[in-house]
Amino acid sequence: MSGNRSIRVTAGILLAVATAALVGPWISPHDYATTNLENILSAPSLSNMHLFGTDDLGRDLFVRTMLGIRITLLVAIVASLVSLVIGVSYGAIAGFVGGRLDAAMMRFVDTLYALPFIFLVILLMVAFERNFLLIFVAIGAINWLDMARIVRGQTLSLREREFVEAARLTGVSTLKIVFRHIAPNLIGIVVVYVTLTIPQAILVESFLSFLGLGVQEPQTSLGALVDAGVKHMEGASWALLIPATLLALILLCFNFLGDGLRDLFDARHSS
């Protein structure tokens, strides 16, 4: 696939999945929380509109899967934004100010790389109970380091470019330089890395769900659905296969999209 086409295809798929997740629950006659103990683990069927079958409490898996996609995407996107905000401001400051501060700040990033982060996330989830917001923040807090490094590198090189130099000589204020000249030039690389951070955030969320530290029932996420599906893998394979396939599809698309955007960005930069 050529760069542009793969971007369009993957973005299209992601858009379609997201739309289905938003609209799907409306169309279905079922809701995500109502149990039906007379109809547990039934196979997908059109006749009763359980398109993806039911789970072990008789809840409609189609609606739950759509809800799971929403929450998974929400967690991933917000987590990425958190890492974006921290990473970009940290990296931009270090890169723009430079000198000792830069050295100290990057040393700090190096040491943070040394921490067993996943352990800290588990501790965080344990210490502050299952707070939905906290899942975002925790995941975002892991992922900002790469972002900070990349943004700093980019800022450093931008700082030396002629147009920044020229702006400085003509007496433009530092703040203005950062916003007018540096920030717009960072957007490309930042978008690429956010796209690549999202699949990581999705995997961390599913990992937390596996440990039972994910979102609260009857809310759900793709990770939680997959974890539940694993337990019925032999008797009710659809309960695993459908959410697992969707999870894989979303991860794949974000990875492809990120790669495509990176190629595009690289090509534009080298030309």
Binding site: A33, T34, T35, L37, E38, I40, D56, L57, R59, V126, E129, R130, G212, L213, Q216, E217, P218, V230, K231, H232, E234, G235
Partner: protein, 534 residues
């Protein structure tokens, strides 16, 4: 290129790690492989508390009395015993020639030493109150009386005498509990509190401790000095620590285990179909319940509301469809099958589902709630698949029958425990109670005013008075009546919602003989054997 070095370092480490390290030897061919759901916290019978620790300790040690595979009391270290007429003095006669696993003689004084260590405040034993009815026990545990004053004595090498301050009809069954097992005085003197580690533990049961890899496996070997060594068929036992029930099932199916500690709820139907004969399900002394926080609104002084919520829970559906492992729906607090006890049932047990829902709706309305003004409550449960499913189902039942808006809060076990203990933010919470001995007292005493385990904070003078009357009663028939009346009084107050009574569930390999189902869920390895190969 710094990374290149890291890479080589990793590779070299990998090769070194893969080659190095001798592995533990497997047991003899005649080895029983058992699943256990968590590591014991220690194999010291006094400092341990978990059911898992007790399971292993019952293989390693032996009390004065034991249980048969089907749950009848049988002589163990003591070959006989008598009770005085007033029921306050028990005399146990030990077998001749009892020995410890290192060959030392086992005498009556070692039992005395064990019981003294149990109540000694410096031991800080979890089960210190187990022998609370012995003379001076309470005063010793609170540090007012010296340990030597405990009402247990060894008049000679083969006699243990216990003196009680009040009637305790279940006293003999307490002698099967690991916390009353004897202590090898030499090892305590030598190793202090770490005497229970592999290589140090001297035990008096059918097995001795060979090795323990925390988080993985506990290995036991035949104790050649055990009095019934000839009657012990299996040479070695491995307890494999498997936290995830689905992983345990996989290992059983792969032929790696002979017995499992449980069967995962999600696979139960499939297991019953595939392994019908190998599946053992039996009633168990435990009740699963939802408690109300009685110290705060909306449940404080609001019996109609408590009754409405209780009646709206369809226990038959829960037991049949959600847990689905043969659990009995609970309409009382004490399970059926307890010695000398007929649990009274909640008033609504006889009503049909529709009648119950009707009454529930009426009570709900009387308590001042309606569709416009629904009850909004939080339900707390600890993270676990069964708990989750039950919570979701009950939330749904309450919404459909009454229109209650319940929010589910899934907490980690330690968090839930702390919240229940504080009784501040809790409203409805999930909990359970497992009996420690086969008597209604182990259940009913939980709900006495001020009991540390009284999670709903239930207080009723009439209930407490009936419990006190029962405690002083010598006549078992009269005692039974008092206890039953106490439960009846309690049930009418609806301080909690009993949901179902537990069952024990195990898979037992067809190669194994001697497995018996019993209400205590005790399965001594020494009573099992491999079927002779045809």
């Amino acid at each position: 290129m710094k990374m290149l070095r890291t890479l080589w370092l990793t590779l070299i480490l990998a090769v070194v790690a893969a080659c190095g390290g001798a592995d533990e030897a497997a047991g003899p061919p005649n080895t029983l492989e058992r699943g256990i759901s968590s590591d014991p916290e220690t194999l010291d019978q006094h400092r341990s508390r978990s059911i898992q620790a007790a399971d292993v300790i019952r293989d390693l040690g032996e009390g004065l009395v034991g249980y048969s595979a089907t749950g009848e009391l049988i002589p163990a270290a003591a070959q006989s015993w008598e009770v005085s007429e007033d029921g306050l003095k028990y005399t146990f006669h030990l077998r001749d020639g009892l020995r410890w696993s290192n060959g030392d003689a086992l005498t009556a004084s070692h039992f005395v030493a064990g019981m003294r260590r149990l109540v000694d405040p410096s031991t800080a034993a979890f089960y210190a109150e187990m022998l609370g009815d012995l003379e001076n026990a309470a005063g010793i545990t609170s540090g007012e009386i010296p340990v030597s004053m405990l009402g247990v004595a060894a008049p000679d090498e083969r006699t243990v005498v216990l003196r009680l301050v009040q009637q305790t009809p279940y006293l003999v069954s307490l002698m099967t509990h690991p916390s009353t097992f004897p202590i090898h005085p030499g090892s305590i003197a030598e190793h202090g509190d770490s005497f229970a580690r592999p290589g140090k533990l001297v035990s008096n049961g059918a097995y001795r401790l060979e090795a323990w890899v925390p988080g993985s496996v506990i290995s036991l070997r035949r104790n050649e000095y055990y009095w019934n060594n000839a009657g012990t068929a299996i040479d070695a036992v491995n307890y494999h620590v498997i936290v995830q029930d689905s992983a345990e099932l996989n290992r059983y199916r792969a032929g790696e285990l002979h017995t499992t500690s449980t069967v995962p709820p999600d696979s139960f139907a499939q297991v019953r179909e595939e392994y019908g004969e190998q599946l053992h399900v039996a009633p168990y002394l435990g009740v699963y319940y939802y408690g109300y926080n009685l110290t705060r609104p909306p449940f404080k002084d609001n019996a109609p509301l408590r009754q409405a919520l209780s009646m709206a829970v369809d226990r038959e559906q829960l037991a049949l469809r959600v847990t689905g492992r043969g659990e009995a729906p609970a309409y009382s607090w004490v399970p059926g099958g307890v010695n000398n006890y007929e649990p009274p049932l909640s008033s609504f047990a006889a009503l049909s589902k529709e009648e119950r829902e009707q009454v529930a709706r009426r009570l709900y309305k009387e308590a001042g709630y309606s569709a416009e003004n629904p009850l909004k409550i939080e339900v707390r449960y600890n993270t676990n698949d069964t708990n989750k499913k039950i919570a979701v189902a009950i939330q749904s039942m309450w919404r459909e029958v009454l229109g209650v808006e319940a929010t589910l809060i899934n907490e980690e076990f330690q968090v839930l425990l702390a919240n229940m203990r504080d009784a501040e933010i809790t409203q409805v919470f999930r909990s359970s109670w497992m009996g420690d001995y086969n008597d209604a007292h182990t259940f009913l005493s939980v709900l006495q005013s001020g009991s540390a385990t009284n999670m709903p904070r239930y207080e009723n003078e009439e209930f407490d008075a009936l419990m006190a009357l029962a405690a002083d009663q010598v006549d078992p028939e009269q005692r039974k009546l008092y206890l039953e009346e106490a439960e009846r009084v309690m049930l009418a107050d609806y301080p909690l919602i009993p949901i179902y009574f537990f069952v024990s569930k195990h898979l037992v390999s067809p190669q194994i003989e001697g497995w018996g189902d019993n209400v205590l869920d005790y399965h001594y390895s020494q009573q099992l054997s491999f079927k002779a190969v045809q």
